[in-house]
């Protein structure tokens, strides 16, 4: 439970707003960070904290693409395939990444570590192609760099090291 596990962070979120319902988005991020995705239980938990109906929380989680309502891997790889990135080879890069991980578009690896996904412009066109891993930007990217990143994260995960990608 978020309120028990992170009482200070929850209190800090609420302290920023005049009423509790305004804390919903920040709490959804917290829930996603904690559980990896926004499950129905997480919705209810956030709703109870904000004292609103879970339906309203679901509406917000559904509207914003940065909340995931499906279970996903520990690392969420979002590859921009919008026009500028596509012109710099993002499509091949994305396909190569999928093949390297052995998953289809939008899929999650069997070990539950990686989820890949195409997304719309992430506002880094000057460093295209790019992707983000759990909201961290990796710019001027190519397949080799991506493979290195994936391998590193796999290794870290296997050794149960603290992740370098929060």
């Amino acid at each position: 439970m978020l309120a028990e596990k992170y009482p200070e962070r929850v209190a800090k979120i609420f302290s920023k707003y005049p009423d509790k319902r305004s804390g919903v988005m920040a709490l959804l991020y917290l829930a996603q960070e904690e559980y990896g995705w926004i499950s129905d239980e997480a919705l209810s938990e956030v709703a109870a904290l904000c004292e609103i109906d879970p339906t309203q929380v679901k509406s917000i989680a559904g509207f914003y693409t940065m909340y995931s309502e499906k279970p996903k891997g520990k690392y969420w790889l979002q590859v921009c395939t919008d026009l500028p990135c596509a012109l710099r080879g993002a499509d091949e890069f994305y396909k190569g990444l999928c093949d390297y991980l052995g998953v289809k578009d939008g899929g999650t690896t069997e070990d539950g570590l990686f989820t890949v996904e195409q997304v719309m412009c992430l506002a880094a066109c000057d460093h295209a192609p790019m992707m983000q891993c759990n909201f961290h930007y990796h710019e001027n990217f190519d397949l080799e760099k991506a493979k290195t990143l994936v391998d590193r994260l796999r290794a870290e995960s296997a050794q149960k090291q603290p992740s370098s990608e929060k």
Binding site: D53, P54, T55, Q56, K58, G62, F63
Partner: protein, 860 residues
């Protein structure tokens, strides 16, 4: 009309109310601006873009400060280059709009083409087809063809349940957000919302239970397409087959105007049956809303358990008899027992039934008691003096008004009033809730007063004391027309007013209008009578009477308790009947055996009991003779709602063979008694009798009761705000009888009331009323069963801990001789020392008034 401004619509000048938006303003003068998302009962959002118009304003010369004039001397209008949404524009002086230029016509055509890109062409099987705004507006303004590819249509789920009552068809949804805004703005239950965006957008609910609101059916009415349909009516009939019959909801004291959509139905053997219930517009009563109980609670009328022949109990077994024999059985007994006959009327008999029952009682013997069931509330005198003024309009109350709701769980007991009071609070009305426990209205109240059960009267007394001390009395009224003020003043003198109550009093008495809704939660009959008088005292002294939007409303149980009181029935008579039981009982549509153990015992001792009823209720089973009667839908009649509005209902359904109107039955019995006259041949003639004999109903007749006037927003006919053919009110707006305060030659009486509160020291059981229960008229609506809770009782956490019970435990509550099996709820509702027990969640009686109890946990 209040302040107005002049605007020009298509070149014509009109006076329109200040602050109105363009759609409403144009509508007032007969110009329809098509809309999908706009709804006159909700805030405009400008989402659908259907109401685009050309908008212009007068240009003002900066030097002279006067409008520029053209060569004809007319003001020059500067038209805006782009079209504007009419719903989001508030009218202002000199504003001009054009609603039918080529530009506007093309825009509407384009908007419809977009809306229809993925709208399915399933009108032939769509419930809304035939009364669908999208259909109507497409025919009126839409393109004949689409430039979009048919094969690219998006296909989505068509049967998405939003709870067990409402289904969503995702393909048909045009994303107008009327349903979500209704839940959010009108009801305040945020249980419906948009999920995802763009073409993936979907209406969702994840509340528990899903779509958790008592008003969900209204979303299907205001849905401008067939996206939301009710589980009850889905695929039930086509709108053009339906004929609309005006009726009145038989479930609660609000008296919502409803429209029964009926048709000749093959499945029902060619009989005319109700296929659905829709709200019928009456701005002074229910506007255009009804609750789900009213909408789905009509199935009792078509139930297969209805009684169809009179039955006599012979040697413990029922024998079917004909009506003639039945009448003879009753008349001979009435003559035999004479003075030892008691009459008892239920809460849903029509005024005509009650009148004939009363006539029968008078003919039987001069002082036969005519009692009222349930015998939990009284206070006709208070209502007669200080009832709400004729023309009270809850939907118009705002910051100038205060509303006090005392001793009532308003949402459960009178949902539509709850809705209206909640909205009044949103508009700035000062709502005060006084109760011994939290209720849902608390969150909208400016002030919540908590008292201990039994102390409700004290609260009103304190407010009266405050009024006297702070010069809030209406001296003209008090000196000119009020009797008993000296005694009351002496009684109130020197009372200490707790701070909480004086704060509340300050809030309430600082406004122009004051309406008091008084219930009976946690009160005995005697206390409730005092509460009514205390409310009347307060209203009379402060002059909050004799005007619309001022006065007292009792939250009676049942649809026609007011009518029964008006016609001379009373709870006091019932008490006296139970204290001195007569040998014979005549009971009309009441079920005392299921509701009250003492009544059950008394009736068991009686020599002969006659019951008129639709169903074999526990009371009927215990009776000696049962007489089958018609439901509200199968006959004509009138109900008087708790705001004293007498309203007609009409015959909607083919009457059940074998059953008769209750008034006819009583009239037939009466006609065979010595001195009996011929029964009237119609309900209208019975009403004529009532009007002749009952002062309150003087001058009323079925013609005047059927009178209708244009209402705003005008939702009938081809109105483009709405689809649906059921809103239009052709059945009458009803007539409110005037209170004594409103009749200038009447004097008003106040008197001291006893505020003595019993000290509840032991655990005390408080019966409470829930909307969804197993009432005999509601239980047959199986579609609602999932919403009726299993019998439960609310415990305070402290008491629960002491008793060693936790939430969900099965317990036995013993009160007097009663053993009540329920599951325990411990959720912060009950105050310490009290157990809240909803009535009528099973067929077994529970105490009708506060009672001492003990609780035992059932070990598994």
């Amino acid at each position: 009309m209040a302040e107005t401004v002049t605007i020009s619509i298509d070149g014509q000048s009109y006076q329109v109310p200040k602050g109105a938006n363009l759609v409403d303003a144009a509508k007032l003068h007969g110009t329809d601006i098509p809309v999908f998302c706009y709804h006159p009962k909700m805030k405009p959002v400008g989402m659908c873009r259907m109401c685009l118009v050309e908008l212009g304003s007068v240009t003002v010369n900066r030097e002279s400060g006067k409008p520029d004039l053209d060569e004809h001397g007319q003001p020059v209008i500067r038209w805006q280059p782009k079209l504007q949404t009419a719903c989001t524009q508030t009218v202002s002086e000199g504003m001009a709009i054009r609603t039918s230029t080529a530009k506007v016509v093309e825009a509407r055509d384009d908007i419809l083409e977009f809306i229809l890109t993925s709208h399915p062409l399933d009108c032939p099987i769509c419930d809304k087809g035939g009364e669908c705004p999208l259909q109507n507006l497409t025919m009126a303004y839409g393109p004949g063809e689409s430039q979009f590819l048919y094969d690219d249509k998006q296909h989505l789920a068509k049967h998405v349940p939003l709870g067990e009552l409402i289904y969503l068809d995702r393909e048909r949804c045009i994303q107008c957000a009327r349903c979500t805004r209704f839940c959010d703005e009108v009801v305040g239950d945020d249980v419906l919302a948009f999920h995802e965006r763009g073409r993936k957008l979907q209406i969702v609910t994840v509340s528990d239970p899903p779509f958790d609101t008592k008003f969900s059916g209204n979303t299907t009415d205001i849905c401008p397409v067939g996206a939301l349909t009710t589980a009850d009516f889905r695929f039930g009939a086509r709108p053009w087959e339906l004929s609309e019959v005006p009726s009145i909801c038989p479930h609660c004291p609000v008296g919502c105007n409803i429209s029964a959509s009926t048709r000749l139905d093959r499945d029902s053997g060619g009989k005319k049956v109700i296929k659905r219930i829709m709200p019928r517009q009456n701005e002074q009563v229910n506007e255009i809303w009804i609750c789900d109980k009213g909408r789905f609670g009509h199935h009792h009328s078509l139930s297969s358990n209805r009684l169809q022949t009179p039955m006599l109990k012979k040697d413990g077994a029922w024998v079917e008899i004909d009506w003639k024999t039945a009448y003879q059985e009753v008349t001979s007994r009435l003559q035999k027992y004479g003075e030892k006959v008691g009459f008892l009327a239920g809460p849903s008999l029509s005024n005509e039934d009650l009148w004939e029952m009363r006539k029968l009682a008078r003919r039987t013997c001069r002082d036969c008691q005519i009692g009222l069931w349930p015998a939990t509330m009284t206070g006709l005198e208070a209502v007669t003096q200080a009832g709400v003024g004729v023309g009270t309009h809850l939907a118009a109350l705002g910051p100038e008004s205060a509303i006090l709701v005392i001793a009532s769980d308003f949402e459960e007991e009178a949902p539509i009033w709850w809705l209206q009071v909640k909205q009044a609070a949103d508009r700035g009305a000062k709502v005060m809730v006084a109760n011994a426990r939290p209720t849902k209205l608390d969150q909208y109240a400016k002030c919540v007063v908590r008292y201990e059960y039994g102390e409700a009267v004290e609260v009103l007394n304190h407010i009266a004391v405050f009024a006297r001390r702070h010069d809030k009395l209406n001296q003209t009224l008090v000196e000119g027309r009020v009797d008993g003020f000296a005694e009351l003043e002496a009684d109130l003198k020197g009372k200490r007013v707790p701070k909480q109550h004086s704060e509340a009093a300050e809030l309430l008495l600082d406004t122009e209008n004051l309406v008091i809704f008084a219930g009976n939660e946690g009160l005995t009959l005697a206390q409730q009578a005092e509460l009514m008088q205390a409310a009347a005292n307060l209203l009379i002294l402060t002059g909050h009477v004799a005007r619309p939007n001022n006065g007292l409303v009792a939250v009676w149980p049942g649809a026609n308790m007011q009518g029964a009181l008006d016609l001379g029935f009373s709870a006091e008579a019932t008490v006296s009947l139970l204290d001195n039981p007569p040998s014979m009982w005549v009971i009309g549509d009441a079920d005392p055996v299921a509701e009250d153990a003492r009544a059950a015992a008394v009736l068991d001792q009686a020599e002969f009991v006659v019951v008129s009823t639709q169903f074999m209720t526990p009371t009927a089973e215990q009776a000696d003779l049962v007489l089958p009667v018609l439901s509200f839908a199968e006959r004509e009649g009138t109900f008087t709602n708790a705001m004293r509005r007498v309203q007609r209902f009409y015959m909607a359904q083919t009457p059940l063979e074998g059953a008769l109107s209750a008034w006819k039955v009583f009239a037939q019995i009466g006609s065979a008694l010595p001195g009996g006259d011929k029964p009237r041949i119609s309900a209208a003639l019975v009403m004529r009798d009532i009007a002749q004999h009952v002062v309150r109903y003087a001058g009323m007749n079925y013609t005047d009761l059927a009178h209708v006037e244009t209402q705003f927003p005008d939702v009938g006919g081809h109105d483009l705000y709405y689809g649906g053919n059921a809103y239009a009110n052709h059945g009458g707006l009803g007539i409110q009888w005037a209170t004594n305060a409103e009749k200038e030659n009447y004097r008003l009486t106040v008197r001291p009331v006893s505020a003595e509160a019993p000290k509840y020291e032991d655990l005390t059981l408080i019966p409470i009323r829930l909307l969804y229960n197993r009432d005999v008229l509601f239980e047959p609506s199986t579609v609602m069963h999932a919403r009726i809770p299993a019998p439960y009782a609310d415990f305070n956490a402290k008491d629960a801990a002491q008793l060693g019970i936790i939430d969900g435990d099965q317990v036995v509550i013993s009160a007097g001789d009663l053993q009540i099996n329920v599951s325990a709820r411990v959720n912060g509702q009950a105050p310490t020392g009290f157990v809240l027990l909803p009535i009528r969640l099973s067929q077994l009686p529970v105490p009708a008034a506060p009672a001492m109890c003990s609780v035992q946990k059932v070990e598994e």
